[in-house]
């Protein structure tokens, strides 16, 4: 028992990346992540359609006001950084924020078991990667639309240093463009994945015994879990916001007029 007191988590096995899986031809599907994603999507679409049926130009209710605040915040951010040209970015950034926020809230439902019934879909690498790649592809498409194919490539050689150093420019810009989707993915995934791990660790704390007083670990686990989940919901909101904000900023640099440096 003494060794258990000093090392409360000794002998606990946490298995990150454990999923209900099914083979679909050559593909492996994480079934729990898929249904959690579908449920999150259904929640967002349902809330959206409820709004659609209720939207009024008169005095808005709290529900409509919440949507309007989100749209207003995104709209303001887009207007401030990109300007009127960025109108097309608003739906994407808004969807990203609302959808990621909804997904992140699922973590409040988890109990830290190896398989949660409704895991946060963003705590699996696939969804953050899918969204990040979608964003990056759209950003490059917007850049090509803005600068033309030739201008698009020339842009990477022309700045930030004088044209003589085009090789350095290309190298630096290349690294930056490659890193963008990776950081966008891993930032979101890492935060939510860590949140799940934290829940698993707190759940394992139940096993911590102090002599014959077996409840101490359970009490601590319960209290810490509540505190952590509140904190984790704030993290979820912040990460959703950051993802949407970075999307807007990436579009901003892609749609900015090409100035000589």
């Amino acid at each position: 028992m003494g060794s258990n007191l000093l090392t409360p988590l000794a002998g606990i096995v946490i298995t990150p990346g454990l999923h209900l899986q099914r083979k679909l031809g050559p593909l492996t599907i994480n079934v729990d992540i898929v249904w959690a994603t579908l449920i999150a999507g259904a929640v967002v679409i349902t809330l959206g359609l409820i709004l659609r049926s209720k939207a009024t130009s008169g005095v808005p209710g709290k529900f409509q006001l919440a949507w309007e605040m989100a749209v207003g915040a995104v709209q303001t951010q887009v207007d401030d950084s990109i300007g009127p040209r960025g109108a097309a970015v608003v739906p994407l950034a808004l969807t990203l924020f609302v959808f990621i926020f909804t997904c992140n809230l699922f973590e409040a439902l988890g109990i830290g078991s190896p398989i949660d019934f409704l895991p946060a879909p963003t705590s699996d690498i696939n969804l953050p990667l899918a969204m990040a790649l979608y964003v990056i592809v759209m950003v490059h498409r917007a850049a090509i639309k803005n600068r033309g194919v030739k201008g698009y490539f020339a842009h990477y050689f022309a700045q930030p240093f004088p044209k003589k150093l085009f090789f350095v420019n290309a190298f630096m810009n290349g690294i930056e463009e490659l890193v963008k989707p990776v950081t966008l993915t891993l930032r979101l995934f890492g935060n939510l994945f860590a949140g799940g791990l934290m829940l698993a660790l707190l759940a394992a704390l139940v096993d911590w015994k102090f002599g014959s007083y077996g409840v101490i670990g359970g009490v601590l686990s319960s209290v810490f879990t509540v505190v952590w989940k509140l904190f984790d919901m704030a993290i979820g909101a912040i990460q959703a916001f950051i993802f949407a904000l970075l999307t807007i900023l990436y579009f901003d640099s892609a749609m900015a007029p090409d100035q000589p440096h």
């Binding site: 990150p16 599907i29 994480n30 992540i33 359609l49 009024t56």
Partner: protein
């Protein structure tokens, strides 16, 4: 359904499914949720702008009406002052003319009265003068108890009359001087 652990940093087929799910959500939000919300927002902005404009207009109207009201009030005050000053002038004129007329009437009456007084006095003096001789003689007869011959004392009588006349005319002149 098998439980399996894979490297959590390596994406798998889930990627394709969740990408499609995300694109569907994006499509629905873009096509069906945002347009009505934006329409409601811009319509409300339009309404608010209209209401603000109406409020501005109402305010301008009220200010205009206020200015007009003040002008009318000022005009009315000026008019009232004019009326009052005219009335004052008229009253002054009436008083002045009435005073003058009264004075004239008064003077006329007084002058006429003075003249009458002088005539009456003159008449009284004449009458007294005419009768004083007789009265004096009658009084003297009673006093001495016998008839007095007028002719005997004519000089004395004349002297007395002259004294009376001088006395009365002196008194009349004194009365006239006091007027």
């Amino acid at each position: 359904m098998p439980l399996a652990t894979s490297n959590f940093l390596v994406p798998n087929g889930t990627f394709i499914v969740v990408l499609i799910a995300f694109i569907i959500v994006l499509y629905v939000i873009t096509k069906y949720v945002l347009p009505p919300l934006n329409a409601a927002l811009s319509e409300r902005q339009e309404q608010i702008r209209g209401e603000l404009e109406a409020a501005d207009k109402a305010k301008a109207d009220a200010e205009e009406a206020d200015v007009e009201r003040r002008a009318v009030l000022e005009q009315a005050r000026t008019h009232a002052r004019e009326i009052i000053s005219q009335a004052q002038t008229t009253a002054d004129q009436i008083v002045t003319s009435a005073t003058a007329e009264g004075q004239a009437v008064h003077d006329r009456i007084v002058t006429a009265a003075d003249a009458e007084v002088v005539v009456a006095r003159q008449a009284a003096v004449e009458e007294v003068t005419a009768r004083v001789g007789e009265i004096v003689l009658a009084a003297a007869e009673r006093v001495i108890g016998r008839e007095i011959q007028t002719s005997d004392h004519q000089d004395l009588i004349d002297e007395a009359i002259a004294a009376v006349r001088a006395e009365t005319s002196g008194a009349a002149a004194g009365a006239g001087g006091a007027r």
